[in-house]
């Protein structure tokens, strides 16, 4: 049974704040285990696997529901949430994100039940960010109010396009008009906490039409915009259409220009880019997503959901990447039988694996990785030590794509657009430095590194 925990009622500690425990923090970080301040909290991702129809570009783990099984789903979500919370031993959940699929197809009562299950066992603050992805259909819109009553306080609307032709072609189940109405309703319910998802690089799209579309969006949007370039995923209908030459998508140069143009336009309208695809004004960033890029723990619930946390509840000390069973029916059976549907567990043993993730995810943000944050994961090897002397990095610094200063390691405006060409160089450098250090430690006959890490 679920072990009841009695978390102290207090503000959740920010990760920068030292958390005291009987264990030696330095040692923990060295062997790849998470330090306690990390393991006491997590964010929660809930995956609703069903959609009404298949979008032609989507390769996500989603299913077309055959019957209403919301009762069973609700039970299973609750059960798995409880099991995994217990397993993680966290005392608080910092944010919840309902994604999918089309989570706005779920009953608001399901959302309420899951949130109840969370707050029954751990700390879930009133102000914790609870986001729901919403398809801007009339049904989705009509349920918004109930979702908000259930606890949702942030809405992410999959607008994708303001062109009805494109919406039909992409297989979306809403119209431009419905999207605008949904935005309006959401802004009324959650003012300042509405995000819209928009897609560029769509078939037949031109830079000019994209510019026009952007200015239309800016008239109606709230304080958060996510821009995604349409990617052709193997196995999707769109992929096949492009392969067969039936559909043409804009070339690399065009999509690059679309991206730059959007960044400029949004900037002019007061939106600060805080991540490769995310823009916010009035500081309306998605805290849930930020926690991924900061390398914090998260628990994934639902078919195919991913999680990353230390299973302290079964004596684990190493962070694990955990993936839940993909197919909803199988997942239901597994949750009913053993309380959770975790299908794969990968131990993120080594320090370098953790550091690599911190690097790769952190570099996606415009603030990059600050020294203090890096030190949490790598107390012995500072950012300057790892990257300061490398020729490759020097070239990137000189070309102005990368910045390493007293504040942080981060991409410049231009660099962020080509991050995936920068990261391999950084990863190689990191690996080299870790290896060198390890060899030095070996040669110094297992001397402890304690002394070298003033904290």
């Amino acid at each position: 049974m679920i072990k009841r925990t009695f978390p102290a009622v207090r503000r959740v500690l920010s990760p920068g704040v030292r958390y005291f425990s009987g264990r030696d923090t330095t040692e923990d970080v060295c062997d790849g285990t998470d330090s306690p301040h990390d393991t006491k909290q997590a964010s929660l991702y809930v995956h609703w696997p069903y959609c009404l129809r298949r979008c032609s570009y989507c390769s996500f783990n989603k299913y077309i529901a055959r019957e209403d099984n919301s009762h069973i789903m609700t039970q299973c979500f609750q059960r798995e949430t409880e099991t995994l919370l217990q397993l993680s031993q966290v005392s608080s959940i910092t944010s919840v994100f309902f994604g999918g699929g089309t989570p706005s197809l779920a009953h608001p009562s399901t959302v309420a039940a899951i949130l109840e299950a969370v707050s029954k066992h751990v700390n879930l603050f009133d102000k914790a960010e609870i986001t729901l992805e919403v398809n801007p259909t009339p049904v989705g819109m009509s349920k918004l109010k109930d979702f908000c009553h259930a606890g949702v306080n942030r809405v992410s609307i999959g607008v994708q396009s303001l062109q009805d032709d494109d919406l039909i072609f992409l297989g979306r189940d809403h119209s431009c008009h419905q999207a605008l109405q949904t935005i309006e309703e959401a802004r009324r319910l959650c003012p300042g906490r509405v995000s819209i998802d928009v897609m560029f690089g769509r078939p037949r799209q031109s830079i000019e039409s994209w510019e026009n579309e952007l200015s239309e969006l800016l008239k109606v949007c709230d304080d958060h915009v996510s821009l995604y370039q349409l990617t052709l995923e193997r196995g999707t209908q769109l992929f096949k259409q492009v392969q067969r030459g039936e559909v043409a998508v804009p070339g690399d140069d065009v999509t690059a220009e679309m991206y730059q143009c959007a960044r400029r336009t949004l900037h002019q309208h007061g939106f600060l880019q805080y991540e490769v695809s995310n823009f916010a004004r009035h500081n309306a960033v998605s805290h849930h997503n930020m926690s991924y890029w900061k390398g914090r723990q998260y628990i994934g619930v639902g078919p195919g959901a991913h999680g990353r946390f230390v299973p302290l509840g079964e004596g684990g000390v190493v962070r694990e990447a955990r993936i839940q069973t993909l197919e909803p029916d199988v997942w239901i059976r597994e949750v009913q039988q053993r309380g959770h549907g975790t299908r794969r567990r990968i131990q993120l043993h080594h320090l370098d694996v953790r550091l690599e993730e911190v690097l790769v995810m952190g570099m996606r943000t415009t603030e990059g990785i600050n020294h203090k944050h890096w030190e949490l994961f790598s107390p012995q090897l500072g950012l300057h030590e790892v990257f300061g002397k490398s020729n490759d990095v020097q070239e990137l610094l000189q070309s102005g794509q990368l910045i390493l200063d007293d504040r942080s390691l981060r991409c410049s405006w231009d660099g962020l657009a080509v991050l995936d060409s920068i990261l391999p160089a950084l990863l190689v450098e990191l690996e080299t430095k870790i290896l060198q250090r390890r060899q030095r430690n070996h040669s110094s006959d297992g001397q402890t590194e304690q002394a070298s890490s003033p904290r």
Partner: protein
Amino acid sequence: MYRLIFYFALKETIDLSKFPVDRIRNFCIIAHIDHGKSTLADRLLEITGTVSKTEKNKQVLDKLQVERERGITVKAQTASLLYNHQGQQYLLNLIDTPGHVDFSYEVSRSISACQGVLLIVDANQGIQAQTMANFYLAFEAQLSIIPVINKIDLKNADPETVESQIEKAFDIPRAECIRISAKLGTNVENVLQAVVDRIPPPPVSTDGPFKALVFDSSFDHYRGVVANIAVFGGRVRRGDKIVSAHLGKAYEVNELGLLRPEEHPTQKLFAGQVGYIIAGMKDVKEAQIGDTLYLQEQPVEALPGFKRAKAMVFAGIYPMDQSEYPGLRSAIERLTLNDSSVTVQRDSSMALGAGWRLGFLGLLHMEVFNQRLEQEYNASVIVTAPTVPYKAILSSAKLIKTRRAVQKNMVYIDDQRVMIKYLFPLNEIIVDFYDLLKSLSSGYASFDYEIAGYQAADLIKLDILLNGRPVEELTTIVHTDRAYSTGKAVCERLKDSIPRQLFEIAIQAVIGSKVIARETIKAYRKNVLAKCYGGDITRKMKLLKRQAEGKKKMRRIGNVEVPKDAFINVLKRKDK
């Protein structure tokens, strides 16, 4: 195996010296590929074995079957056959190189130790290119030629036509042709009779000083060099001190004997006989093919020997990974021990690391060598495009068609077959000519070549630049008329193989300071995954780690990172 030894042990009781020279015949089998050379050799071995009165036929056959089951078919090798003909016992030396490689150099080696040849022609296919080439070799050496028409058992066999071809092309009366089926053994006995009747005994004398021609050599890890020799005069026995005419070095004979085809030690070898000799030579280079061996106290004039095998096709061979270098080195050393015609030079390419530049006698030779490296030594190698030695740049050569060929003559072999002779620059036929010819003629055309010496040609050095920096390993010598197309092709291949980078990359083909071709790889303007949330991290990390691994293996030219694959794509021989 036991029975076999017993069988030969019985034979050993026959004193080799009792074979007067006039009852010895030295011959070889020459044929176009697949016309049945090995099958006939098998049959001859079988037949000469089965005529033995003391042994049951079955046992010899059994032995051969066992060999086949083990996959060690009795290939055409040097073998001494005992054959009874009209109450006389003859020693028939079937001389052939044990090679896997079928080119005229090897054939000429065997021919020089022979007085006659069996020229096999497929009753179905008729005269082919190598039939012609081999005929001329034998003809020029003034050997007796016995035309053998093989595969008469096949449905489409047309020995009549083939006989006409032979008559017309070789001026050999059709009556001299022997129609056989080596597969079924039909008429093979007649072949042996013809060998005895039509081929003269070797013109040698047992009385004179010992003199032997080295016509092949191999290396045995335990015993050193094993040289195959044809004794042209006198005799040699175990313990004799012999000298290599080529090196002037003296050796003591440790072991000698006949090849049947297995080594079969004897006490002596006599003039006219063919066998092997082991004399403490440590390196195949000491048993130079074509060398003359003589007794230390009785020096003789060296036999004409052979022209040194001259490598005509070169290829760069590099390990896939530099860590495999030592393994590849020992594999090459071991293979070249048994194939002294391969020249080995150490080489290094900045792209591919340390490797070798190997010289081969021909393309087939090269292919077999590489295949053996891969199959027998499990070495994964990068083979760069073969190059041909050039001597000088003088003036323009005449060009005919795209291959710069000059037609030399044209002879109708019969009303369905024509033989056309062209003079080609070697580099034009070296890579893919044969394959193209085969595909253009739906497999009907056959092809053979011999080296016609150096010809003046208009050649030029082509450099490849990446952002202005020369890529030295891609520098090539090309014919002026090909410079543009070659340069263009290399640039295009590079463009396809170098990933986009953070800056623009100019790929140029340059002659001197003149740019003749250019491709541009545009800089990345956007390269970042749009979505990266909780569920995407694992996949994203995997992708990036792979790229980081790839980056470590990149070669930098200036600021340009070039994957090793790019060089391989440009340098490697194009697949068929």
